[in-house]
Amino acid sequence: MSLLVVNAGIELRRLIKNERKLVVFFSSPNVPQCDQVHNVLKTLKEDTVNSEILFVHVDAEVVSEVSKQLEIISVPTVLFFQLGEEINRVCGASIPDITKSVMNLQSAPANGSPNDLSSRLHSLINKAPVMLFMKGSPEEPRCGFSRQIVSILRSNNAKFETFDILQDEVVRQGLKSYSNWPTYPQLYVKGELVGGVDIVRELADSGELAQMLIVP
């Protein structure tokens, strides 16, 4: 069976963004080493243990913009992605390295595992120096406490980003356990839980909130 051939940069970007486990093989015609890599990837693809992995074959010149973006400077180069993040790359026809990287990708925890959710939550709470998990958005809060906390932050001239937990039940439930905090809104500063609206109000009254919000 052949690798999936992708000829459009847009399609390649979409796969990188959406696939859970992805191997992207950048090649070029008339480069003998590419044939060698192509053959080993086909063999690896056929192994049922790798059934969760999507193997993609692209011509580096045909998807030149993406190649440039990903800093592909020679062929063959093989990139390994998990949940949209590059986790490894092998330049040249190093068959042992390619095989090892495929094994690592195959055994990495898949979407939905506790580890993966933890990583996602960790990324979310660190997405901005001041991060508010609320119901709705600052422009359209969907509960009184979310509205109040936005008001407090704004009157303290806070520069903050928000995440609407009504849009993502996995995050909504996961973050309660992750932070051992049962309610929303939840405010994070530099990745640390500050608390809900009652604590934030208390900190604002004492002047501590303004201090906390000074982020370099």
Binding site: P182, D198, L203
Partner: protein, 80 residues
């Protein structure tokens, strides 16, 4: 519900408890103030976690709970 909350909070040997019921059409809502030695030296987040743990059952039915947790030293200063 208010009595249940008060009963649970007694395990903190509080010097003072104040529970205001401001429930409305959205459901049960309480504002709770507790003064206890248990809170001394603890961060606000950890103090609230202590109360959350005690009120785990009640919080399933309560729509909104706001807390103020004070150590005795803070309370005497504020004399609130």
């Amino acid at each position: 519900m208010k009595d249940q909350i008060e009963q649970k909070l007694k395990s903190l040997n509080p010097l003072h408890i104040e529970i205001v019921d401001f429930s409305d059409g959205c459901g049960l809502k309480f504002d709770v103030k507790v003064v206890s030695q248990e809170f001394e030296g603890k961060s606000l987040v950890d103090r609230h976690r202590i109360v959350h743990r005690l009120l785990e059952e009640e919080m399933k039915s309560v729509h909104a709970l706001t807390l103020k947790t004070l150590a005795p030293s803070q309370w005497s200063l504020k004399s609130s």
